[in-house]
Each structure stands twice: as structure tokens, then as C-alpha cells.
Amino acid sequence: MSPVMEHLFFGLAAVVATVSSLLVVTRRNPIYSALFLIVMLSAVAVIFMLLDAVFLGFMQLLVYAGAIMVLYLFVIMLINPRDGDLSDEGGAPERAFAAGVALLIFSLLSFAISHSQQVEKLDSAGSIPALAAVPDSHGSVASFGLELFHNHLLVFELTSVLILVGIIGAVHLAMRRRSTSRSPSTVGDGQVTVDV
């Protein structure tokens, strides 16, 4: 892809990511938030692919936009909050406080970025694709997997333990036990009941 096209696509993905993340935090209905979060995650996947991380971009699409967001949407539809359940969001002082903290964090981070000599040194060499001329196989499944399994095997195996703990914890928490459910009236219709 020509550099001009790369810049164009990067700008497009950046604008889409920013606008959709703003919509995520401002929509009142959580379903709209989840749908805009999918758009934002896809834009981030495009940015990953432009940074030569093709495999990671596809993982982002599969794991985030696919699996995690389906989990979110499933939970939203399972608990199905009605309009009355969605209380009003925080008042103006609350939002102003949050916006102030966010603005403070952004200004601190941009101050650090604009004054970093390391970033300036790297930037003077040109845009990222020209900065480090990596081989064509960079980011492909083969080279990524070779490095992952040669140099970072222990981390990879520890990740499987983490996921296993996550699965067991989620199943244990979401399981309905009769001894702990205090009010039987809260048992809704159509919900899956798992007896121990």
C-alpha cells in the first residue's frame, strides 16, 4: 500500500475510534454503548494492521469484537433493564468533575509526549513504516508464533492458567445456589437455573 493511502486509512481509523469511543461513554442505553464499542474495537484493529501487526489485528477482531462483545450483549439482554431501572446518570457537577480529571490526564500525557526526547528522536527519522524497516514476514502468524513459542513460552502457558481461573470464577459466580438466594421472589422467568 502506498504511504498516502496508509496515512489516509490511519486518519480515518483514528477519527472513527475517537468519535465512537465518545459515543460509548455518552449514550444512555447500554446496548448502543456496546454497539459503538464494537465499532471502536474494529477501528483499533485497523490501526494494528497498519502497524504491521496483522495477526494481532485479527486477534483483536476475533477475541474483542467477537467473543467479549458478544458476552456483553448477552449479559445486557439477559438482565434486560427497563427504562425505570436505568437511573439518571450523574448530575452536572459529577460530569464536570469527571471531565476535569479526564482533561487533566490528557494534558499531562500530551505534555509528556511533546517533551519526550526519545519520541522526538524516533519521530525525526520519519513516519512509523519508514522508521524500522522490518522484513515482510513481520507480524505474520509464522514469525509471531515462532517468537511467542521460543522466547515467551512461560508467559503463554501462564496465560492459560489465568484463563482457566477466569472460567472457573465466572461459572462459580454466575451459578445459582439455593442456599444463598435469600429472596425466592427474585427468581425470574426464562432464566437458566443451575442446581448444585
Partner: protein, 106 residues
């Protein structure tokens, strides 16, 4: 435009938007989604630093990408645990409003 500084500014912007979501919203679901937003902002920074240092990094050519894959795994585990906690809270109090869940206050 497609420089390291631009990517870092984008990452900082998305991170602050996520911070606003975590602080301003009352719905636990949206707070969890804003957390995912912040994780993704950090991922952009990690991948762009990894790409800029691809040839010189001690951790190898794909160090940043492998780190991001680990963040992805942690995010998946966090989403599973967080959402099942949310289900428990919903069954117990019939509410997902963070401001109503203040029973630990003195």
C-alpha cells in the same frame, strides 16, 4: 501524520475518554466497557512502541505484539469475571446502579 507521536496522542485521547466514562457513568455495564476502552488505548501505545523499536528491542521483533496479546487475554478474563459479578449483583439487588451499591459505607 502517521508518526509515533500521533499514535501516542491518539492513545492518550482514548485513555482520557475511557477515564471520563469510568468516573461519570453510573451503569456498571458502561463502566466495564469504558475499562475495555482504556485497555485498548494502552494497547495502541504498546503496539506502536513495539513497532518503532522492532529491530532494536531486547524482547525481540514482536515483543510489543506479544505483550498486547497478553493484555487481550487479561481483558477476556476480566470481562468474564466482571460480568458474572454483575449478574450476581443484579440478582441480589435488582439494580446495576453503582451509586446504590454503597452498603460498605459506614
Amino acid at each position: 501524520m502517521f508518526s509515533l507521536a500521533t499514535l501516542l496522542y491518539l492513545s492518550a485521547l482514548l485513555f482520557s475518554i475511557g477515564t471520563y466514562g469510568v468516573l461519570a457513568r453510573r451503569n456498571i455495564l458502561v463502566v466495564l466497557m469504558s475499562l475495555e476502552l482504556m485497555l485498548n488505548a494502552v494497547n495502541i501505545a504498546i503496539v506502536s512502541f513495539g513497532r518503532a523499536h522492532a529491530l532494536t528491542a531486547f524482547s525481540g521483533e514482536h515483543g510489543g505484539q506479544i505483550f498486547t496479546l497478553m493484555v487481550l487475554a487479561v481483558a477476556a478474563a476480566e470481562a468474564a469475571i466482571g460480568l458474572s459479578l454483575l449478574l450476581v449483583i443484579w440478582r441480589r439487588w435488582k439494580s446495576i446502579d453503582l451509586r446504590q451499591l454503597c452498603q460498605l459505607n459506614g
